[in-house]
């Protein structure tokens, strides 16, 4: 297959700045719909008041074009490369443009310059620094586009990791899940109702990465294709909403807008688990850049493709299957 034309680096930087502003200002529709449903059923008066205030806040953000939350979190990037896609200047240029877009959006939107050196606390005032923003990659066969997704993840509360063991079973999973929600739900530190992402298995780092991606890169209502996992997602969602705690930790039922689980094959003796809460400012936005210059914007990152979740050695691309059948 001949290579399609290269995607322009300038176009990539522009799109990156646009998704930064979109993420900071406009709440994704799937999350908004989930909160509206919760607001209809919430019986706790304080929790219901909080949900109502949030709905008004998102309208104000959109109308005034100002960030929905002043803690604009830690902006980060997810890049999905089509196997046939090429960007002008190559991957180093892509990273340069994403860092530049981060700095410029920080000033222009404005976003809060949250990123500091962990010891000296030095702040470059642009959300760029050593290993910041994170840029994670994935690849997609049979595609000539590049997807760039930004997530502005609230930083401090609502995430935990634990090494469980196979004998701990589903009970262990439920307990650790509840522990995390109760610990961070009190006084609303997790800024719930949250999209809760769970990483199960993998190595410790993979487990954390999968859980965070499950929280940040899947939309409300989306189910894992494995039926057993999908059932567990729904069960955990309900369990979280039966704690008796709502928004800000007030008495109520609005804790979990949705629960997403992603798995990775793990050590035979272990069952590591991570839990991540994507807060009331569940900020994500994606741009798809085509080689012909078209740019499409959306709020569903479409990160977990069948290719991402493959469990076989081989993966047949369309070109290969064409060759075989010919």
């Amino acid at each position: 297959m001949p290579h399609p034309p290269k995607i322009a680096a300038d176009a990539l930087e522009d799109a990156a700045r646009t998704v930064m502003a979109k993420a900071g200002i406009e709440i994704p529709d799937d999350y908004l719909g989930g909160i509206r449903e919760m607001a209809d059923t919430e019986r706790g008066d304080l929790s219901a008041f909080v949900l109502q205030a949030m709905l008004e806040n998102w309208e104000a953000a959109k109308a005034d074009q100002r960030p929905m939350c002043a803690d604009t979190g830690v902006p980060r990037w997810y890049v999905k490369y089509g196997n046939e896609a090429r960007v002008e200047g190559g991957p180093v240029e892509v990273e340069r443009r994403l860092r530049r877009a981060t700095a410029r959006a920080t000033h222009d939107v404005p976003l809060r310059p949250n990123r500091v050196h962990p010891l000296s606390r030095r702040d470059n005032d642009n959300n760029v620094g050593i290993n910041a923003p994170e840029i994670e990659y994935s690849f997609e066969p049979d595609a000539d586009w590049v997807d760039i997704t930004t997530v502005h993840k609230g930083g401090l509360f609502g995430t935990d990791y634990r090494m469980l063991f196979p004998a701990d079973g589903i009970d262990g999973i439920k307990r650790f899940y509840l522990d995390t929600l109760v610990a961070f739900g009190k006084r609303g530190l997790a800024c719930q109702p949250a999209i809760v992402g769970i990483g199960l298995g993998g190595s410790k780092d993979t487990c954390m990465v999968l859980g965070k991606q499950a929280a940040c890169l899947r939309t409300v209502g989306d189910r894992n294709p494995e039926p057993e996992i999908a059932a567990l997602e729904l069960e955990l969602k309900e369990l979280g909403n039966s704690i008796g705690m709502g928004a800000m930790g007030f008495v109520g039922s609005s804790m979990v807008v949705d629960c997403h689980i992603e798995v990775g094959y793990t050590h035979t003796g272990g069952m590591p688990m991570s839990v991540h809460c994507f807060c009331l400012s569940s900020r994500r936005a994606t741009a798809r850049l085509h080689p012909d210059g078209r740019v499409e914007y959306r709020t569903d990152p479409q990160w977990f493709t069948p290719y991402m979740r493959r469990d076989t050695v081989e993966w047949q691309t369309a070109a290969e299957s064409f060759e075989k059948s010919a």
Binding site: A53, C69, D125, F250
Partner: protein
């Protein structure tokens, strides 16, 4: 705090907030502020209370409302500021600074995120005649941003950065905020937690404990963790 229809009571407060107005507040009241407020968090506290520097303005003359926050703001080329949104930061981390801060600043209202412990209210807030108002959500940054009329100053911004500077803000209908502590030192969060806690045993019922415990579940480092 709420009437029989579950509607919360709404209150407007003008800064500096008078003792009489503070006395009238009930847990769970929805508050909107008018007047002046300033931000102050760890770096400001450290400078004044640990390093002994004088506050950059006469706080007692300015206002008695201290906001635990850093705004999403940028400096324009002409030196003015563009404040998009404001959201509080978790206050419990500043507990150790407050007894002296109340003395030095004359603050009577702390606005923040998540409140402090009831213990802190009784030991520190009640003697200072102060209350705690919590922001809502906590992601109501755009609504709070709308309530800011003007940035009067951003003290120490060059040394402390945007996030830690002391911002003096003129506000109008700044809110919504909820009354989290009253002048008797009661906490709305703790009151609500006590109700939530009653149901926790039921939620955990039948779930067996994991086979390997962790420190933190026990704070006695001599304990075995396998169970």
């Amino acid at each position: 705090m709420a009437d029989s229809r579950g509607k919360l009571r709404e209150v407007r407060l003008t800064t500096p907030v008078s003792d009489a107005a503070l006395r009238g507040l009930q847990l769970g009241d929805v508050v909107y502020l008018d007047g002046l407020i300033y931000t102050g968090r760890e770096s400001v506290y450290k400078r004044v209370l640990q390093d002994g520097m004088a506050p950059p303005v006469d706080l007692k003359a300015l206002t008695n409302v201290n906001f635990h926050c850093s705004p999403a703001a940028a400096r324009n080329d002409d030196g003015t500021f563009n404040v998009g949104a404001v959201t509080a930061t978790a206050s419990f981390r500043f507990s150790k600074w407050l007894p002296k801060w109340f003395e030095v600043s004359g603050a009577k209202v702390i606005v923040g995120k998540g409140g402090m412990s009831e213990q802190d209210y009784r030991d520190v807030f009640v003697p200072a005649g102060a209350v705690y108002l919590t922001t809502v959500g906590y992601g109501t940054g755009a609504l709070l941003g709308r309530g800011i009329r003007r940035v009067l100053d951003a003290h120490w911004i060059d040394d402390l950065g945007i996030a830690q500077a002391m911002w003096v803000l003129e506000v109008e209908k700044f809110g919504p905020l909820l009354v989290e502590s009253d002048l008797d030192g009661n906490s709305l969060f703790e009151r609500q937690n006590r109700i939530v806690n009653q149901g926790l045993a039921r939620v955990y019922e039948g779930l067996k404990a994991p086979s390997l415990a962790r420190y933190g579940e026990t704070d006695d480092r001599r304990d075995e963790l396998i169970g």
